[in-house]
Symmetry: C2
Subunit: 346 residues, 2 copies
DNA sequence: CTGAAAGCGCTAACAG
DNA sequence: CTGTTAGCGCTTTCAG
């Protein structure tokens, strides 16, 4: 009696099937597939027999079984804040490219900046162990992260310096200094004295860091932040509109507004124009991150520009350094660069 | 001698650890976790002991081991054409929401419309068996798909009617009729006699279907498609600019242009304006799919509008019907609805 | 009501 | 150079 039935048509062949067809043992098949790992040589003859059998059956190794055995999943997880925000697109694309080069698959998750979703993401990667994590946490506390890290040991790279944990690598730290630069430029190059701010005023990153950069630039320049100079915005285009509408109601609004991200900056321009104001005539407006919409809007948007594809590559390479054991110990910090892209809106 | 060492700090607990702590066998733990499956009742006392142990250890079942055993991965894969194209965002978001409700994870992959990437995606889901696939194939041949399907048995739902396979469910079929409607509107409501077209003229979907809709509307109206009325565009904003530049060079260009997707339509508007032309004054321009950029551009873009979140939900629900065995047999076809969103550009 | 045992497909010692 | 064997963590008969 056969040990194993002929596999039903359409069922996926296993290593066993390959071994049977090639007339060798299953472990020999495994060896030729992982030749790099084993130092043991294999006779060219059996190698060919096995390779032929593999081709004939169209065999593909089952990653699930392999993962269970090796305790590696060949998969990394990425949590982004908002799939609609073009800021993330070049980053995701770059991460996928790097992962592909390392022969890894990518599990993408979208948090929509909601705390429950961020926690759920952590639970997911605990149940479905991935080999590494890239995330842009907005709501997660350092405590949540700490609880996760002591349980999981999975390397994490965070996008944005809001996270403070001795074990996680961080790429970011542009918010404060880049905002400072941008606001200084508005003041020194464009001669503004009354500069406003739209961004999160609550704890949600990267709100606070960008606000601090704004504050420092104003102070350095000896300018005061008047009572109504800063309005809250939720980092969406609609949020930018709402915030701008607050400025438009004011008696004596700022002449320039630094907006903490570009979708909001575009919303602000649209709201100003809807109210019959001109940009940059009545308001100079500056955004953060150079997304495609920045050149669709009229006037085109002046922005703080980071090299997003490069950040994506960096973040992924840093993660793979950990995964491959090329880096160990304390979490590292990488500051990414930026420049100002001057267009029409400021 | 202990059968199993105390798990090292930071290592993930297994069902075995839970069983030991609760003083029961591992299979009993499995039973309380899958209570719905088993019909066997479990004494409230052991149930509680086990639940407590689970809580104490913070145990989470290992999905990889479960998958190997059950031959189900609790994961679906989604292949989209272009992560930068806002068309996909509401769809991806809806799919994630539905998947979450079914307790599934989502593996997202970005093909960038490149044949090799699409093939690679198929290989990936063969090695890492997912329970279902949603894809927007652009370059894959029916033959590629057929080869895959006979090998894998994984249910597939395709977005867009370009795919013809007896086993795959399709959601789409709007391209031809919606384009027809849109072009008819340009002719009948706006009085255009000379209507042009930007889209793929090669085989790449959804180019041909939209071109056929355009053709039929022109014929029905007794209008001729002149030699230079249709230009090729690659479905990106830049591609739209290039195509428009061709029209701008012409002696006697069309007065209205139907553009096969909205990023290209925006590129066309930008190119026209850069050349000193006005929209809709010199050219009426109409796009396909209502993306956020449509209301950022000035003039705002008139589009064919599909209910994208609804399409995403539909596509996911159809897939889960297959996965759960609620649907069987022949691939089904679902036509999604559309309407015209009239704005300023046409 | 609960435990023992088999086995999903694979890798990695350990023997030859 | 190659085969045998023991699990990875889990579900699911099969016995009690």
């Amino acid at each position: 009696m056969a040990k194993r039935k002929t596999p039903p048509i359409g069922s996926i062949p296993t290593m066993h099937d390959v071994a049977k067809l090639a007339g060798v043992s299953q472990s020999t098949v495994s060896r030729v597939l992982n030749q790099s790992v084993t130092l043991v040589p294999i006779s060219e003859e059996t190698r060919q027999k096995i390779l032929n059998a593999i081709r004939e059956l169209g065999y593909q190794p089952n990653m699930i079984a392999r993962s269970l055995r090796t305790q590696r999943s060949q998969m990394i997880a990425v949590m982004i804040g908002d799939i609609s925000n073009a800021f993330y697109h070049p980053i995701v694309r770059a991460v996928q490219d790097v992962a592909r080069a390392y022969d890894y698959d990518v599990l993408i998750s979208n948090s929509d900046h909601i705390y429950e979703n961020e926690v759920r993401f952590l639970e997911t990667v605990l149940r479905r162990p991935v080999d590494g994590i890239i995330m842009a946490p907005h709501r997660l506390t350092t405590e949540d992260l700490d609880k996760f890290i002591t349980r999981s040991q999975i390397p994490i790279v965070a996008l944005g310096a809001q996270v403070q944990h001795p074990a996680v690598d961080v790429v970011g730290g542009t918010s404060e200094p880049a905002t400072y630069d941008a606001v200084m430029w508005l003041i020194q190059e464009r001669g503004h004295r009354r500069v406003g701010f739209i961004g999160t005023l609550d704890e949600m990153p990267p709100g606070p860091a960008r606000y601090r950069g704004y504050q420092r630039a104003m102070e350095t320049s000896g300018l005061v932040i008047e009572h109504d100079f800063a309005h809250h915005g939720d980092f969406t285009l609609e949020g930018g509109k709402l915030a701008m509408q607050n400025f438009l109601k004011q008696e004596n609004p700022p002449s320039a507004i630094f907006v903490a991200n570009s979708p909001m900056a575009i919303g602000a321009i649209l709201a100003a124009q809807a109210a019959g104001c001109t940009v940059p005539g009545d308001f100079s407006i500056m955004g953060f991150d150079d997304i495609p919409e920045a050149t669709i809007i009229h006037p085109t948007l002046t922005t703080v520009t980071r090299d997003l594809p490069n950040i994506g590559r960096q973040v992924a390479e840093i993660l793979f350094e950990r995964i491959d054991g090329r880096a160990e110990g304390q979490g590292r910090f990488f500051q990414s660069g930026w420049k100002l892209t001057i267009r029409e809106s400021a």
